[in-house]
Amino acid sequence: MSYFSNIYNGIKSLLTGMGVTGKVFLNARKGTITQQYPENRETLKMFDRFRGEVVMPHDKENEHRCTGCQKCEIACPNGSIEIVWDRVVNPETGKKKKEIDKFVYHLGLCTMCSLCIEACPTDAIVWAQNYENSVYDRSYLTKVLNQPESKLMDGVED
């Protein structure tokens, strides 16, 4: 007898399974979970905290907030950040002050761990929410974050 109940239960379980997929099939039009990626670039918005790449925001006067303290460089586990700095004599006060020459960021080495941004005392670097980081050559992944001719914002001290 269990021979036939096996068959009955077996077929029943198979039909239950088909019911689940069948329901999805009928709702296929609105149930789609995939995204049409390159077409939906306009509507595809990352969350504010999304870790795309490290950038250094500049204001209108081409000023950034990086003092060149190198805390991010030390915090980085992979050596993705290199800061080339110089001591420059401030003409007004006459004091020597550390100033960045180049803030080099190797996106190719970065693991998006956010330790540099946590370490930054002046919030000079932040996460950008871009997600299309592929380039044709590895050398493009090495970026200089401070814009040419940019200056340290007034009043920013670490």
């Binding site: 239960n9 077996g10 077929i11 379980s13 198979l14 239950t16 399974g17 019911g19 689940v20 997929t21 999805v24 979970i33 990352m46 969350f47 905290r49 999304f50 870790r51 805390k71 915090a75 586990p77 693991t111 998006m112 761990c113 956010s114 330790l115 946590e118 370490a119 996460w127």
Partner: protein
């Protein structure tokens, strides 16, 4: 030439076959050296190390904050729990008391991670036994968890949300609502999983009585997580050595005594329910407070040895730190669940068919970077 790996004392009817390192069922770059007689498995020998990065050696040169992000890359499906393990080790060593808020959030995200990991496992499990559709259903629900992570932690997989002393940021304002939505959504989906796969007669036949692991063997092989609990071995670290906010919640340890593939499968399904219940107990009661305690910029652990274990999605993850009082650990060992679990593959697969090997391997829930740290 890899001549030594081929066993020379073959019987005439046996043959050798290389499963992997590129094979759909090995979930990554795992290589299995199989000795087969027709369809019957005679011997399975895992060959590991294809993606070994020597994280333990890297940890010896990194500071404790930096170590955390390396653990994301071990068992990437339970990255938050791995992070938590390191952070707990450091906090215990420093005798640092983290705020209640941090503990609760850590536990919620940890359980969400477990659900996400089990969702993926469920999808892949179905795929390994031939039901390709499960993969997408598992991913649909996992995607919701990943969105929660992305909103709060900034990344979907390698989150690095924990830091020694607390969390990197506070939770996102939407976090609670989204988590509640997910819990409500997922409660309707687990029964669907059961209908589609668990109850299916073919699936039951494939899993029942396959890959049997007795309780004694489970303990002896150091099996942990659902693999151990499927054999009736009570090994839930959350029960026996509760950490974070886990001592404030009530949950049942999912146990099955059969020890076969179906038992391991069912334990994971039960764990998803338990995780949901843990989240439900905590999500409305996140205490107010700081999201971290400030530690020194350079963390130096006092001289000594520290061991911390947590229940990752795959089982018991242990962090063993030997400190000499400097800012780097002298030696750091990760006891990863996958490594112990893979060692019992030969034990449970021998005597079965090739299909059984694939099915039992899927129930071990192998993540290769976890084995190949």
């Amino acid at each position: 030439m890899d001549t030594t790996t081929v066993n020379s004392n073959f019987k005439s009817e046996e043959y050798f076959i290389n499963m992997g390192p590129q094979h759909p069922a090995t979930h990554g770059v795992l290589r299995l050296l199989l000795t087969i007689d027709g369809e019957i498995i005679k011997k399975v020998e895992p060959d590991l190390g294809y993606i070994h990065r020597s994280i333990e050696k890297m940890c010896e040169r990194d500071s404790y904050q930096q170590i955390v992000h390396l653990t994301d890359r071990m068992d990437y499906l339970s990255s938050h729990i791995n992070n938590e393990a390191v952070c707990l080790t450091v906090e215990n060593a420093l005798e640092l008391e983290v705020p209640e808020r941090v503990k609760v959030i850590r536990t919620i995200i940890g359980e969400l991670t477990r659900i996400a990991s089990h969702c993926l496992w469920w999808g892949v499990m179905g795929m390994d036994v031939g039901a390709l559709t499960t993969y997408f259903y598992g991913f649909r629900d996992r995607e919701m968890v990943n969105d929660i992570f992305e909103e709060t932690c900034g990344a979907r997989l390698t989150m690095n949300y924990n830091i020694p002393g607390g969390l990197m940021y506070d939770i996102h304002p939407n976090f609670i609502q989204r988590t509640k939505d997910f819990v409500a959504h997922f409660k309707t989906k687990i029964p669907e999983y059961d209908k589609l796969l668990t109850g299916n007669v073919i699936f039951q036949k494939r899993m029942k009585g396959v890959g049997i692991l007795s309780k004694e063997d489970a303990i002896s092989f150091g099996a942990s997580g659902p693999v151990g609990r499927g054999s009736g071995y009570s090994c839930d670290v959350r029960k026996h050595h509760p950490y974070s906010a886990l001592n404030k919640v009530t949950f049942n340890e999912s146990l099955k005594t059969a020890g076969d593939s179906l038992a391991r499968y069912e334990v994971r399904i039960m764990e998803m329910w338990e995780s949901l219940s843990i989240i439900e107990q905590l999500i409305d009661n996140i205490p107010e407070g700081d999201y971290k305690v400030t530690t020194k910029a350079v963390i130096k652990l006092p001289k000594g040895e520290y061991y911390q274990k947590v229940e990752a999605a795959r089982g018991e993850l242990g962090v063993y730190v030997i400190s000499t009082g400097t800012k780097n650990p002298y030696r750091l060992k990760f006891r990863s669940p996958g490594f112990s679990n893979i060692s019992l593959l030969n034990h449970i697969a021998v005597g079965g068919k090739i299909g059984d090997l694939v099915a039992s391997m899927a129930t071990l829930d192998i993540v290769v970077p976890d084995i190949d740290r």
